[in-house]
């Protein structure tokens, strides 16, 4: 019983939030890693792409809400998501045509493209702030919980409650669907395979008649979709605020690098590694340990390794450790 209670507490405060957060990071990191694999630069504007896609979704959600469209127990934002994706796709394709294409044709060094993406980051950040403002926005509706703590207690008779927010469940399900679709696309379709081929060996891909501009366009479309989904899920789960997406850049990059830049499977693994470390290191273990350890050993303090304010430090430390001991990431990435 003690053990079960401890496990439920652990699930409630660590496992469930970390799985949800990990899914969001994984989606973000997938976008970064795809850009790196195909366009070969680290895209600093990715966080703001997420913000942009999420913003369009928020605006469409509001419009739907105001004319009385709803999705029953599910958040209306899911209905608005395709519009958000379309908006983000238009945005990145336009950016690519107006900005990145020039440097691609000139075969500029990757670091120049990184600086260019900094400029794009500024502009997108500005656009989002101009349109929706810098403040926190509320757009979640529908059922708040999938399982309420009290219901869980009544159901199981345990002392500890387990609450699963519906946004957490939606996050995991949506992310799983998105990832499954992505991998099906990359591994089973001709276009997807041509993307992998281009990422693997650009010259040979050209020799094989693969059209680089098409590969790049498809990549941007997928990246915009992934970014929007990640941004909306994060916004539903926490809240929508333009600046937080910029801050997500660090854990997202950490996830992508930890997994091995350019490797999609690695990006997913990296997302969960970073999310679990962040949550576990900043969680106060007193409660769980109180259940698990014999009474004599019960900890007096909170048993919190670091305060939650240092969660960025955690992703950073993991990043450094991986870079020092395994520079290509957990899964072999493209970066040497």
């Amino acid at each position: 019983m003690e053990f079960l209670n401890g496990f439920v507490a652990l699930s409630n405060f660590v496992l469930v939030p970390a799985i949800a957060y990990g899914s969001q990071l994984a989606l973000g990191a997938l976008g970064v890693t795809l850009i790196y694999g195909i366009l070969r630069f680290s895209n600093f504007a990715h966080g703001d792409t997420m913000a942009f896609g999420a913003m369009v979704t928020v605006l469409v959600t509001w419009a739907m809400q105001s004319i009385g469209i709803s999705f029953g127990p599910l958040p209306t934002a899911l209905l608005a998501l395709p519009f958000g994706i379309a908006g983000a796709v238009l945005m990145v394709l336009m950016t690519d045509k107006m900005v990145y294409k020039f440097y691609r044709e000139k075969k500029s060094k990757p670091v120049i493209l990184v600086i260019v993406s900094m400029g794009v980051m500024f502009m997108m950040n500005g656009i989002v702030r101009v349109i929706i403002g810098p403040n926190e926005q509320q757009f979640r509706d529908g059922e708040r919980f999938l399982i309420k703590a009290r219901e869980f207690k009544n159901m199981t008779g345990l002392d500890e409650g387990l609450a699963i927010k519906s946004t957490q469940a939606i996050t995991v399900v949506t992310a799983a669907i998105a990832v499954a679709l992505l991998f099906w696309f990359l591994n089973k379709t001709r276009t997807g395979k041509s993307m992998r081929a281009y990422s693997d060996n650009e010259d040979l891909a050209l020799l094989s008649g693969i059209n680089p501009e098409r590969v790049v366009a498809v990549t941007w479309i997928i990246v915009a979709a992934l970014a929007t989904i990640a941004g909306v899920l994060y916004g539903l789960d926490k809240s929508f605020k333009p600046f937080t997406y910029f801050q997500l850049l660090l854990p997202i990059f950490a996830s992508a690098i930890v997994g091995g830049l350019g490797n999609p499977l690695g990006a997913i693994a990296g997302g969960f590694v970073v999310a679990f470390s962040e949550v576990m290191i900043t969680y106060a273990w007193k409660k769980v340990l109180g259940y698990w350890l014999p009474d004599t050993l019960e900890p007096s303090g909170l048993v919190q390794l670091l305060s939650t304010d240092y969660k960025f430090a955690v992703s950073f430390m993991i990043l450094i450790v991986v870079l020092l001991f395994r520079p290509t990431g957990l899964f072999k990435g493209k970066a040497y």
Partner: protein, 433 residues
Amino acid sequence: MERTKNIGLFAIVAGLIILTGMIQSWNSALLIVNMGLISAIMALGVNLQWGFAGLFNVGVMGFVALGGLATVLVSSDPVSEAWAAGGLGLIAALVVGILVIVATGITIKKLPAGKMRLIGATAVLVGGFFLYRAVFDPAVAAIEAINPALQGNIGGLGLPILLAWPIGGVLAAGAAWIIGKTALGLRSDYLAIATLGIAEIIIAVMKNEDWLARGVKNVIGLDRPVAREVDLQQSAEFVDKATQWGFDPVTASSLYVKFSYSLLFTAVLVVLLVMAQLSLNSPWGRMMRAIRDNEVAAEAMGKNVTRRHLQIFILGSAICGIAGAMMTTLDGQLTPGTYQPLRYTFLIWVMVIVGGSGNNFGAVLGGFLIWFLWVQVEPLGQWIMTIVTSGMAEDSALRLHLLDSVAHMRLFTMGLILLLVLRFSPRGLIPEK
């Protein structure tokens, strides 16, 4: 020809600032000059790293903030009660922390590679961490309990604030040394992410470690290297002089103080600029650029590339630290909550790229120009928006929203400027020779 063009560019920026003085107020103009000087110094530091050596540092904010921290640690008065309550514990914790790191290092060296090493090192690190926290936490609690409304921190050394400028540089250099040691061997994108991360961590530490510099409770009323307005207004001699020149004493005192800062900052900028120019044209500077242009060849010629990179990374970061200390001095307060990467890291990058990477004068010009635009985009946008929306109804929601959104136009504008320069004049306004 080229010289005339460069002088012309500087003259244009100077003209813009003078125009600000005539149209808006001389106070605003001097404010732009002062922050422009500080920006120019930061740009000089980043240019050293990027322009000379091709190092991609996006952690400028962290070094700037460390400089700010230095002003508090140097100039504010020591809180002796705090030292009595927790000073010993704090120092002990520091020693424990260093010992733990050393012990971890030894474990990694001594144990054979593989699982054993990983487990051993992790055990030492985790065990050491708890030991450190056991010493550290009570000391911090004791310090933060001392007069929390005003202090609750260890205070500083009570030295003149001017000393904080070089010390801010030293602090930043120390941090740069640690980062450089770990991250400089990595690819440029990794260095970028590493510096981005360390900057966030430095800010997090400054926000949360209240015992150090009061965290988000801020430290206000810092010491000043120049006169205070209030004192000036009470000095009969100053008031006389002011009225003689046709100023009212309040404006005059404010201008006088700002101008004093301008002189101080100019002195620092000139010294750093001369040093940067000398080093650029020295054998050391030429070698740096040779390494930047072809790392492999330089390495083959027996140059220790990583070591050179470490040198210049530390130097550039130190300059950012100095500028950070100067900025906090100018503000008169340390507010860790206001450090934002877009403003303190990426804006500096815009300055360097627009000014001309690899050219010290370019960096200085970029610093002034971009700072001027950063400040003036808002009123300019307001003015344009008012004209654009003049046809709309007074209370139209769109009009109000547009007028409201002008405040955020500056980010957009900075991005646009950066992209335009990168596209049409990729070497900047004053290109590298």
